[in-house]
Assembly symmetry: D2
Homo-oligomer: 357 residues x 4
């Protein structure tokens, strides 16, 4: 064979199949997803975020279109997706009774539209109303045992009033029934980012896009995860929590957080009994949703181990095509690629052969 002496200035991607994606958004039939607090179930659209109209139009056309989604998954070697209600979802519906009703009806709708119709392609994470943790636990149980939900996804804090002033994070003592049910059912929680509350947004100054996915979403979500660790709830209910975006920079900084915890006064660190790193390495999984950078992936693997990192996209907010081209061309060994692509997800979610072939 003679050597290649030409260039198209491109690197060919060998497409790999069988990928499983875990942070994949759908809408609710009951309300437009975005900016829904105060509850505005009739408002159509995604106004308010500093995203371009072209971006929004594309998202809207894809959020609830099963065929576009399946075609894209097929192009990208994504065999199976675990779907969830897009952020802020139920958490942004500040009226408790409405939230409870919407969660239940949304779970039924997602199950019917996606999972029952395409069982070999779709699973789902339930949504629940953390406004009433007892009800959230009940709906979680129903969704898992009756509808086959693979776990639950929570979009950060829950609005308890219309003005963004009463927020419930998952470290609140009131949430314990929810954690107890997670543990009893042995299913995982996906903790998803959400636009930081109004009073946090000042940090980002004149640059509204910094508030959103560019930086603020990640900060909000990582802070939430740290609160959960600090609360000690994982000592009582040792469940698994999944974070997107390679765990929102926690792999990079959690070691330092632990060091600084040592200088706190008694009580300033919460009730947890172990290091933050311990909780991170024993109770957290990271997905690649939104990440296309090898150094970031490596740092994540180095702090969590290969067994706790999983492929994902965040469709339709991210491009399946870009994500798959990047992942399939990553210069890593094929054993690790398979572990991250699907083997970890198969093990964690107990996916049977039907769902992943």
């Amino acid at each position: 064979m003679a050597l290649n002496r030409e260039t198209t200035q491109s690197i060919r991607v060998a497409r790999r199949g069988g990928k499983i994606a875990l942070e994949e958004a759908v809408g609710s039939p009951l309300f437009a997803a975005h900016q829904c607090y105060p509850p505005r179930p009739v408002i159509k659209g995604l106004q308010g975020l500093p995203f371009s109209p072209e971006f929004f139009a594309d998202i809207e056309s894809r959020l609830d279109d099963v065929n576009l989604r399946l075609e894209s998954m097929d192009r990208c070697g994504i065999q199976y997706a675990i779907l969830s209600l897009t952020s802020p979802g139920i958490e942004g519906v500040s009226d408790t009774a409405t939230a409870i009703r919407f969660a239940k009806e949304t779970n039924d709708a997602i199950h019917e539209k996606y999972v029952a119709t395409h069982p070999s392609r779709f699973g789902f994470f339930a949504c629940v109303a953390m406004h009433d943790p007892e009800e959230a636990a009940k709906e979680l149980e129903r969704a898992v045992t009756k509808l086959g939900a693979k776990g639950v996804l929570i979009n950060g804090f829950t609005n308890l009033d219309d003005r963004d002033e009463k927020l419930r994070y998952l470290d609140a003592p009131e949430c314990e029934p929810f954690w107890a049910m997670l543990h009893r059912l042995q299913v995982s929680l996906y903790l998803h980012p959400r636009l930081p509350p109004t009073h946090q947004q000042v940090l980002y100054g004149q640059y509204p896009n910094l508030v959103s996915a560019s930086y603020g979403f990640g900060v909000e979500c990582a802070g939430h995860a740290l609160r959960i660790m600090c609360s000690g709830i994982l000592d009582k209910y040792p469940v698994n929590i999944i974070l997107g975006h390679c765990a929102e920079a926690l792999p990079f900084l959690i070691h330092r957080a632990d060091q600084r915890m040592l200088i706190g006064t008694p009580g300033s660190n919460g009730k947890h009994t172990k290091t933050l790193m311990h909780y991170f390495q024993n109770h957290f999984y990271a997905t690649l949703a939104g990440i296309r950078r090898h150094s970031t992936l490596k740092n994540t693997i180095e702090e969590l181990g290969e067994s706790r990192v999983m492929f994902s996209v965040d469709y339709p907010y991210e491009s399946n095509e870009d994500a798959a081209d990047w992942f399939d061309s990553l210069e890593i060994n094929e054993n690790s690629r398979a572990v991250i692509s699907h083997q970890n997800a198969i093990r964690l979610f107990g996916l049977d052969s039907e769902q992943n072939k």
Copy 2:
């Protein structure tokens, strides 16, 4: 030689000399450093932060003790330290005239106490009053040209009133004279973290220590750096900015921030003309202050290159001894160790042979 068959369960550290440290705090003779806004120059101590009394007592005893500092530096192979006024410093003095006066007198005092007395061991970063950027520029010029300051250190936002409601970040258009002077003098800015403003602290819930160095400091500082990038000021004045703590997780997440910038509406991203990664790789340096984790160091080197990462400690808030033992025992090649330990700092600050022997 027979093999070793014993163990003391420890790894011996081969101490290396010649290290240069860059985020090393001293007090001001004019006021107690911490929690000084509203200006409370007579208040003694470091109350308010959720740090343990033992930690505080140790810090207080060391912040202004030259001999303890030098003894520790000697033990740790730190030849030279560039000192700076501890956070929040001048930035927390909300009265403009007072701030201007304190900055000038503090620079003189630090120069006299440390630099003039021990020129082969200490340099300093000036403090300036960003309350009045013209005055800040003037004092910067004086400090650099008359006192030999190696640059300037800013502790995040500047309080412009007593109630934490008017904050000035360095992306404010008013700050341009300061940037222009930095550029004219060709010196670097060290952007240091500061306790997030009150309205940000809600993020950290019931865990006050999370607000402080454990997580909140880094988020505040990285957000500030991103604002500077977004402002476009680096297009006009291409200066160098130094960040501690391995650049506050920016190496991990800046690639994603760039991706998400692409979906913003016109104007939502600021006036910058290049990618955030471009500014990061061309205008930022990272120090190891506060970091003792190889994976974090590696991620930082992978995104900035070996030529933009520098040793540091954050003494007395961090332990020289722990930092030096970790750094000197790091399993890296000796060429890279020397580059990070001191060669980059010698080049960046034009340190002559006297100062580093």
Copy 3:
């Protein structure tokens, strides 16, 4: 808590238990291990290698001393070791009938002395006489099914005459019965280095120590592994092969070998049907025997994946104490450490709970 302000210039090691070691040498009761070709069963000692008398004396005192071994394992958190006859072992006994007899009797002796007596601490890899591959297969079957051998260890080439001129490598077609039996029994082959044959030693010039473990052993063993890949035997019998010393630099160079294979004339590459990398990633495991360098470990993980790298020492030729101190203090996450320390070995060798508690 106040910060630490002292240094003993050492990093404390937190000893981890439960480690499993896989390249651990013992002697044969029938002959002195070293320099045994031509067969010199009565020769005592380890003459001929350029090792210091102190080193040799220590090795001799430890090779067959169960108590010294167990004490060292206990000190080092090594729960379980799979033992094997030290190099060159049976492979260096050039008379076929003698080799067959010695293999059988040595397996019985190792089993009785170690495994039967300390079943929770020791397993073993059988030795076999590749001089007669049919006999080798038979003895392998006996050792696995009757004595519970965990697989087989081969010390490189086999001497078929007394003058180092007829050498049998495992890619020889004659070896097929051995591979067939490996496959039938579903056990692994540990391919161990051996002093390169005389005519190779010229490469190392005036420096006899370069021939030995310093460089020559690794080259010889990696070359042998490449021959096995090229032979195509793994297409027919897809078994697992374990290499020590982080797979003898194959992780670093096998990608290049594959590239260069493409320019060969038909037939110059052997009968294999897939890339060398394919065989490497699907049929090889690497152990840490003899390696104490993080960058080498990382390269190995990057090419094989975390699931194919396993702790080991090479006792008594290496120090359990040095290996354990290094491994236990490695700055890696605890999930990966457990996988490498013992979880992979438990899975690969089907170790039950009794053997690893």
Copy 4:
């Protein structure tokens, strides 16, 4: 901007200019390059190596074609190449007088054809006849001072007879005048691989391609480099040595070689006074010639530091196009890319602005 929703299953390469390549082969007007020992200056072609006819034909058409070379360099963003006589070159001409004459005339010819004609695109490494080290030193001096050679390239051992039985490696005491001149001129030695001598080839069994670049070349060259380190010559003449192929796996294994050196008897290790790692990190540079694998590059950077790793191709034996596409699309920061691409070479070879613009 809407997200990309299409895929061509390829990753676009952003071509970077300014690259410098250092292991780039040309022929001699006096003899065909390959298989030239015993000296067969009239033999045309590259017979004997197990390379395919298509590969050979392509090499022959390119080895001496300036225009094809420049066109390819232009396509690939390679601004400047330091050329050298292809292996085995002068080293394979066993007659001393002939070798001396050929070296001189070849240097003149390469200088005239490439360097004098295209000074902004080409430099060269001299060839010399190590058969007579005094003459080699003289010719090196002439080539550097009169012809502007950037250093010297040696293709491994030198044949001193026709039958491959008397070989001279650079650790031979006779070579001292050559080392002294290298040191006096302050130029670098590129140590290039060569087909292992006949008696080594048995290692590779039935697979002749394993002997060649697939594995044997690298082993031979790394062994040669270790001999040089062991000889102690670098203690006396601390010069720089460049190795291709990411330093032939030395980054991966040299730490272990050092460990094993400690068990040698006095005299078995050579006369060197420092660790092998010390020589490696202080006197060696690695090039990317022949390497297209990120993990291998990383391991090399981790052991040598970013300042001692340099781009190269090994044209025409490797493809400029493949090398440039790989290197330009490597997911590394742009600072490190520039350092490796050309900045290190500019510094090491004192390339002035004319040669690299």
